[in-house]
Symmetry: C2
Subunit: 424 residues, 2 copies
């Protein structure tokens, strides 16, 4: 029954029942966690052969010994793999350590302190305040990097096709202090959109009207992370090259959710100007990344077909968990108009919008009942969700039965928080 059509007595009876349900959840002494997009142990097991795959042969295709120093760019064969993952040519790719987050941080540190290869000088020296466009909801760690370097963040609405390009284009054209935009073009974190071809084209064109040194941070974190059939996002680099804006797009990706979450490879990509400038910075801080681990990855994954096969394995483990989340949301909230949520075709998250002003309350209730959720507001710049309605669910890590149990609690919490609000 829809709560809106209930009488006060009915609502009070409903509340009583929900409070009892909630008390029962609490009494169960749960300790469950849906906070972060972490691959499960079963997923990590898919790549266990990585360790030992080299079988004593540490020599790369270029004849270099991967155990030694050097090779700032990474191995040719690893660059090739990164290029396929990011839709670039191998010479447009360099390999980092185990974290694309680190590469993104270093890249923005580079832009702020020294200026991007695209020109315009160090952002730190800008006469006007530096601003960054942040499609919301988005990835919290992107936003903390902006905070770190004092880049003022501007919320951009998401549409089914990606960021609201009307809003983006208008802002970029009028404010030369806007120096960039965060993009997760495929299975956007956390709301799961795949940017449309038209959106990709319009993003590639932004540098034509933006101030000097404008940077699109193209974080293709979920490039091959499909949950059902294979989807593709339009390759942005060929379009940017045609438009003459190639220096404005900088690419990031990793194998963190392909092989080992904490011991994979991270990739950065871009035009010659972008990479030469970033390479110079990297050469100040490292003699080269871990090439042994690069060789392990290439030998283990082999090629794009190897990656596809491995991702099939991930899909088989992940799909039932995402299906369970949908089932619980549908069965528990589907007819009640209490929430809206995404049903993503890939990536690591389900994004739920409660009625306004309830996200914090739901997260607190869930915590009381032993279910940890990502803090409300985390997917927004400065942790501030203006409507306090967005909650990010990450069902990948716990076993399926825990996902089911946690979702029972979650559904109760959404209903309870909504009804409590309605009755006060």
């Amino acid at each position: 029954m829809n709560q809106k059509s209930m009488s006060d007595d009915q609502l009070r009876a409903q509340l009583q029942q929900l409070e009892e349900e909630f008390a029962a959840h609490k009494a169960a002494g749960l300790n469950l966690d849906l906070t972060r997009g972490k691959p499960s142990i079963a997923q990590l097991d898919l790549s266990s052969a990585l360790d030992g795959v080299l079988d004593g042969d540490f020599v790369a295709s270029d004849g270099s010994d991967t155990r030694g120093y050097g090779g700032l760019d990474g191995l040719p064969e690893a660059k090739h793999m990164g290029a396929q993952l990011m839709g670039l040519a191998p010479e447009q790719v360099i390999i980092g350590g185990n974290s694309s987050l680190t590469l993104m941080y270093l890249y923005l540190m580079h832009c702020v302190n020294f200026g991007p290869g695209a020109g315009g000088g160090p952002w730190r020296d800008s006469a006007t305040p530096i601003r960054f466009l942040c499609p919301v909801p988005g990835y919290d760690r992107h936003f903390t990097i902006c905070e770190e370097f004092g880049l003022q963040m501007i919320n951009i609405a998401m549409t089914d096709d990606g960021p609201d390009m009307e809003q983006v284009e208008a802002l970029v054209a009028k404010d030369p202090g806007i120096k960039g935009i965060w993009c997760v073009p495929k299975y956007s974190n956390p709301s799961g959109e795949i940017y449309s071809a038209e959106t990709v084209r319009r993003i590639a064109a932004l540098a034509k009207t933006a101030g000097p040194g404008f940077q699109v941070i193209w974080d293709n974190a979920y490039a091959v992370h499909d949950l059902d059939e294979t989807h593709a996002v339009t390759d942005i680099m060929p379009i940017a090259e045609t438009l003459g804006t190639a220096d404005s797009i900088v690419f990031f990706a990793s194998t963190s959710k392909i092989t080992f979450a904490g011991a994979g490879l991270a990739f950065a990509g871009g035009s010659a100007a972008t990479l030469d400038s970033f390479r110079h910075r990297l050469s100040m801080l490292t003699i080269g990344p871990d090439k042994v681990n690069q060789l392990r990855h290439v030998r283990f994954l082999k090629d794009v077909n190897g990656i596809r096969e491995l991702m099939d394995g991930h899909r088989q483990i992940l799909q039932p968990k995402f299906a369970a989340v949908q089932q619980h949301l549908h069965d528990g909230l589907g007819n009640l108009d209490l929430a809206r949520w995404t049903d993503p075709a890939g990536g690591y998250f389900v994004s739920v919008d409660t009625q306004p002003g309830l996200a914090k309350a739901v997260v607190e209730l869930a915590a009381e009942a032993g279910v940890k959720l990502t803090p409300a507001g985390a997917a927004f710049p400065y942790g501030n969700d203006p409507k306090d309605c967005n909650i990010r669910l990450a069902p990948s890590y716990p076993p399926l039965e825990d996902v089911n149990r946690a979702m029972q609690v979650f559904v109760t919490c959404v209903k309870l928080a909504t009804l409590r609000q309605q009755l006060t």
Copy 2:
């Protein structure tokens, strides 16, 4: 015969002979390289069992799966190992990726942009110019980090006991803009000194008279890298703790010259204030370092005895090469007063001082004859050796016969450059 006691005719005959020797070297079409302190293939082979050592067991002592995300500090067992290497308690250690250079860069970036845990605020905000003390000759990559962040470098003379502490103390006491000093306390790069106990004590005391936030960068890169018997440098942390200056000492080390040069572990260490402040910065840019490689290292090296055994293997490979360098210098230049050089008990370098104004000429001559040497001046801030006399020899990488061949050329070049100068 000493060139100084020769007649002009004798000198000209000598020059003729040296020019012929040099021409013969050139004609040999050599391609040898003594530029960098790189472990040789034979040394890398000592650790080949690292890959595969885990044998499918990725679980650390704390029960965590090393393949997953997280663990900013690194594994407890790896912290324990780093602590032994650096003379610290395990809680005073965090593990990075494969490069202590990266940790040092990030640490100084942290101090410049955000300020060290020791206090005093971001160096960037200082009213007076920020200066750094650089014992010379020193490690070129330390100096490029200073250049990167605009830290003005001041040369400090080296003595047999380490940096000239009279000079250091006088400067630090009178200039609060001096924010730090680079130290390689054991087998100083490239001149090989081990800091005396008295020097260590005086360095630990510097923060008492220095301006706020003063930092001793204690880069113990060669902690266990003895060439003959085992030497020790006095542990600085207990002294600093007694003096109340613990927040001023920050420690770095790595296994780059223990296991795999490009795929080892890097360590940072310091007081709780130092590490908490640095940890916060690291938490902005990584979810955690590669813990699988940490576990590999712990399983492979086992403990301090395992490291000692492995270092014995390195010593057996390195010692003949360093002996060859000494032999050639002694036989070729020993009685001629043409140069002075170090005979280090460990580390990776031999430091040669030619007569003033000749280092560049010698390096150029050697290059002409197919022997690459580190660019003259590289061991000095801004690449500027005021006397143009210092040349760093790094004999670790080439096979012994190549070291012998390269040293023949080197000796000829020193003699030839000296005589050419004398006769013009």
